[in-house]
Amino acid sequence: MMDTINTMSNSLSGWGLWIALVGACLGTYFCRAIGVFLSQSINQDSEIFRWLAAVTYAMVAALTVRLIVMPLGLMATVPLWIRILICALSIGVMISKPTKRLVPALLIGTLLMVGYGIIH
């Protein structure tokens, strides 16, 4: 299992990595700052926000599916059906009482994953 660590052979490295981090930090701060600037004048129900919210959700969904279905590194050693089964069980706990079950659902999913790792 430990030899799956260091999967960075094809990845961005050195200065490129730090430049990407600086770009990501600036982009993130830019969004926070533009919010302060706009908070004087703009309406949160405007069309552009509806579109931006939809794009954000779609992007986080694409990311989540990628991390669960086609993961890199350590997570790839767990069979796909186990990953999906654990997700399904966690969602089951979550939707059994949506407003109060985030912590237990997160805990159960994580512990099940640890449990799988111990068995194998």
């Binding site: 830019f30 700052a33 779609a58 986080v60 669960i68």
Partner: protein, 261 residues
């Protein structure tokens, strides 16, 4: 623990409220109350996410400085995970910066809904510093509590809340990084799994159909675009799915009463 446990990604799901009562004696009282309100289940979830992120940094071969800097200067988990995921798969610097910036556009909506609730006196340039403390956790708690806090004490309360959330994310990241190197692989597996599972669970809380549709399409287009071109796939999958969801909502869903929340 009510709405603070619900990690909204789209702030427009909560309506603005007004009114205020005498609750704090002075700004310092409000500040420490903010710190106390953060130190509960919401902070635990954030802390766990940051531990998971640190573990992700370790298992993917990033160094501890890079991983910690990311939490310190970005302080936005979805964007941080996008950064790492795209860096590992070898995306270009420009595609990474653009994709991360797009995931951060939710901060615009959050700021626009939260900051007008501060006192006019507090609404000056210093907000450009305090806004870095704004993230999902602090935003959700503030939106819930502000209506019961005097306008003049709201900024102090928010800073106390946000500061604690930001400060715990640093030790959380470092802890996760070193834990992943020391504990058995089984535990590391659990740590790395925290963030994808957290994002997945938050989707069950999403109410507006436009955003549910965007999530559904993102789940389908994400893997397809990844196979076609993994460099820009998060960006293209997000833009294409989000835009389709927006157009479907605009053309069809909005006209039917009862479908739009």
């Amino acid at each position: 623990m009510s709405s603070a446990d619900q990690p909204y990604i789209d702030p427009s799901e909560i309506a603005l409220e007004e009114s205020a009562t005498q609750r704090f004696k002075n700004p310092s009282d409000a500040f420490w109350s903010g710190v106390r309100d953060a130190a509960g289940a919401p902070a635990m979830v954030l802390f766990a996410g940051m531990v998971g992120f640190g573990a992700m940094g370790k298992t993917n071969g990033f160094d501890v400085w890079f991983t910690t800097f990311t939490s310190f200067f970005m302080f936005a988990l979805p964007g941080q995970v996008v950064l790492f995921e795209m860096a590992i798969t070898g995306s270009s610097v420009l595609a990474i910066a653009l994709a991360v910036t797009l995931t951060s556009t939710r901060f615009i909506t959050m700021t626009v809904t939260l900051f007008p609730q501060f006192h006019q006196r507090d609404r000056n340039r210093s907000l450009y510093a305090s806004v870095h403390l704004l993230a999902m956790t602090a935003w959700a708690i503030s939106m819930r509590e502000f209506h019961a806090i005097e306008v003049k004490h709201r900024l102090s309360y928010f800073v106390g809340l946000g500061l604690l959330c930001w400060l715990i994310s640093i030790p959380g990241t470092i802890l996760g990084f070193y834990l992943a190197g020391m504990v058995p692989p089984a535990v590391t597996l659990g740590l790395v799994f925290i963030n994808p599972l957290f994002f997945l669970l938050t989707f069950t809380e999403v109410k507006p159909w436009i955003n549910r549709l965007a999530i559904f399409l993102g789940c389908i287009f994400g893997p397809i675009f990844f196979v076609i071109d993994h460099d820009t796939s998060l960006l293209t999958a997000g833009l294409v799915s989000g835009t389709i969801a927006y157009l479907i909502d605009r053309k069809f869903l909005r006209k039917k009463s009862g479908v739009v929340g």
